[in-house]
Amino acid sequence: MAYVVQAGEDRFKIEAKRLEAKPHEDIYEVEIDGRKMVVSIARISPTHLSILVDNNSYDVEVERFGNDYQVSIRGEVYNFQVRDERELVHTTHHESGESIITAPMPGLVVDVVVEKGKEVKKKEKLLILEAMKMQNEIRSPRDGKVIEIKVGPGDSVNTGDELLVIG
């Protein structure tokens, strides 16, 4: 089974097969965009890997945030989407025209700056959420129109609660 792994414009097709399990490491054959390499993985924890490739050593942390995998190597951080190649075929056909803006953290809605029906530009301010003593501006991820506003000033929201819908 191959995976499509994407971070921004970088996209890799990756297939990994375990060749051998030793006491302190697993040996994989990894094919990345058609190139094969042998990779040694020592699991420091399920999401913390020590990787050796051609004797190059990488101490790699992986975190899952929803469908994204955030990977840290020596202070460099990547956000990857990892999808089963077959799954990918499905989802690309289902793209909806609406974006649901959700709360990135728990907080208090201080102000909703836009009204329903307003045309907004990408990065335009939508509402202000207070959390950790700071007022944080929630901006539009794209150009579009405000289709629905689900919260009002004074509302407390949790991470993931829906705030507005941009169409």
Partner: protein, 499 residues
């Protein structure tokens, strides 16, 4: 092991600074008492303390800002003194006033000096009278937009709006032109109200690309005042300091001497005692202007500790107990260079707060690295308080060594489960003007998102390996009703292409 003037101290704070103060108490043989909100029962400061008292619900207005409850705890527990840390009540003169009324020693200035320096208008007037240059601006707090507009027009844009009631960058806004004034003024008022309970704002001329440089002071009750060199804190975002260092790359011994003397004069004129910081802006011609006095221990105090060898918290405690300063000005050296990065629970791209549980954590160590943190593996970062969760401070024989150690330490620091500003700090540390020491308070806006992707392929492989393992586990978990032999077959099938 050590003797101290106090037997027992109340630390009226939380997080890394509460632990910092408690460490000093332990080293001095003082019993450390602390307070906590309902959200903080499992916080590190409660675990570190000798005694801990719950003082109310999570919002700080109902707990850490409740002077009455804090005084009660001090009395019940038999504390002789209160250390406020920074933030919360640290610059509220009502706390030292309440202490004075109850015969408890406040580890900081007295209420009168704190009120004076906390009132920025009055503070400016006082230090201006002592012959110290101040930034052009008005000397009155403003609550009214029309008045604000008049003053701004007179000073000429750009101007700066600041909360009259407190510091720390909250409520601060630059206004580039008249059209922006209304919304900025209102936002600043609202933030000032929410942070300090006081919507008053004052306005000053905004200097172009200035540097923020401050002088650390210690002043005892016997009239002795010394300074402990400068810290440069020009790396700021929305007027929140992010990186601080000592010495400043642009301060030479002559300027240090002049600024140090000015700071001491400001402190003397204000009748201020204990540890304090005099903040200046320095323009491109190295003219310096008094900004304000921070009437407390600063977040960035460790950089001064590393280059002078003085433990500022212990000196605060000794001063509060009435001891004369143990150091004369000549005893204060300046050895090597130190730098601090403030690590916040924020997304490093958007700076939105990131709360949640810390699932794995490895802190940096080794030569020249100091970590001050209030977190641990398993800790839930709460939504109610400041996002500062840790500080990394490095020392080097010279600035270059301190910086290379900081990069190394940031690479070692791993905090999982929440997002932090570590990647952002690494970008600044790699930004050539910063490396050259050639930066100012606006520098941060120039730093581009990182384009480093040396390791992207390895990262993609790691994500794949972990995703494969998770797929397998979730298939196992999701099908409890399945015949185990069949499940085993499925898992083995998957194993063929993964873990």
């Amino acid at each position: 092991m050590a003797t101290s003037p106090f037997r027992k101290i109340l630390i009226a704070n939380r997080g890394e600074i509460a632990i910092r103060v408690m460490r000093a108490c332990r080293e001095l043989g003082i019993t450390a008492v602390t307070v906590y909100s309902e959200a903080d029962r499992a916080s590190k400061h409660v675990r570190y303390a000798d005694e801990a008292y719950e003082i109310g619900p999570p919002p700080s207005t109902e707990s850490y800002l409740r002077i009455d409850r804090i005084i009660d705890v001090a009395k019940i527990s038999g504390c002789q003194a209160i250390h406020p840390g920074y933030g919360f009540l640290a610059e509220n003169p009502e706390l030292p006033k309440a202490c004075e009324a109850e015969g408890i020693i406040f580890i900081g200035p007295d209420s009168k000096a704190m009120a004076l320096v906390g009132d920025k208008t009055q503070a400016r007037r006082t230090v201006e009278a002592a012959g110290i240059p101040i930034i052009p601006g008005i000397k009155e707090p403003i609550e009214d937009l029309k008045k604000a507009s008049e003053v701004a027009t007179r000073l000429g844009y750009p101007i700066l709006l600041k909360a009259a009631g407190g510091g720390g960058g909250k409520g601060m806004r630059v206004v580039e032109k008249e059209e922006e004034l209304k919304s900025s003024f209102e936002r600043a008022q609202s933030e000032a109200e929410s942070a300090f309970g006081n919507p008053a704002i004052y306005i000053e001329k905004f200097l172009i690309q200035p540097r923020h440089i401050e002088i650390q002071i210690l002043a005892d009750h016997h009239g002795n005042i010394i300074h402990l060199n400068e810290r440069e804190c020009s790396i700021q975002r929305r007027y929140q300091k992010l990186i601080e260092e000592s010495p400043s790359p642009i301060v030479d011994p002559d300027l240090r001497e002049k600024m140090g003397e000015a700071a001491k004069r400001a402190i003397r004129a204000s009748g201020y005692t204990n540890a304090g910081t005099v903040e200046f802006l320095v323009d491109q011609k190295k003219n310096f202007y008094f900004l304000e006095v921070n009437a407390r221990l600063q977040v960035e105090h460790p950089v001064t500790e590393l280059v002078t060898g003085v433990d500022l918290v212990k000196e605060q405690i000794r001063i509060a107990a009435g001891e004369p300063l143990r150091y004369a000005q000549d005893d204060i050296g300046l050895k090597g260079a130190a730098i601090e990065c403030r690590i916040s629970a924020e997304d490093p791209e958007t700076f939105l707060p990131s709360t949640g549980k810390i699932t794995e954590m490895i802190e940096p160590a080794g030569p020249g690295v100091r970590v001050e943190s209030g977190i641990y593996e398993g800790y839930e970062v709460p939504v109610y308080y400041d996002p500062l969760i840790a500080k990394v401070i490095t020392w080097g024989r010279d600035r270059k060594e301190a910086l290379s150690r900081m990069v190394r330490a940031l690479e070692e620091y791993r905090i999982k489960g929440i997002k932090t500003t570590i990647p952002f700090h690494k970008r600044i540390l790699n930004y050539p003007p910063f490396i050259e020491g050639n930066y100012h308070t606006q520098t941060i806006t120039e730093v581009e998102p990182s384009m480093e992707n040396h390791h992207i392929e390895i990262g993609a492989v790691a994500a794949t390996i972990v995703a494969m393992a998770e797929t397998r586990i979730s298939i196992q978990k999701a099908r409890p009703g399945i015949n185990p032999w069949k499940l085993s077959g499925r898992v083995n099938g998957l194993r063929g292409s993964g873990w």
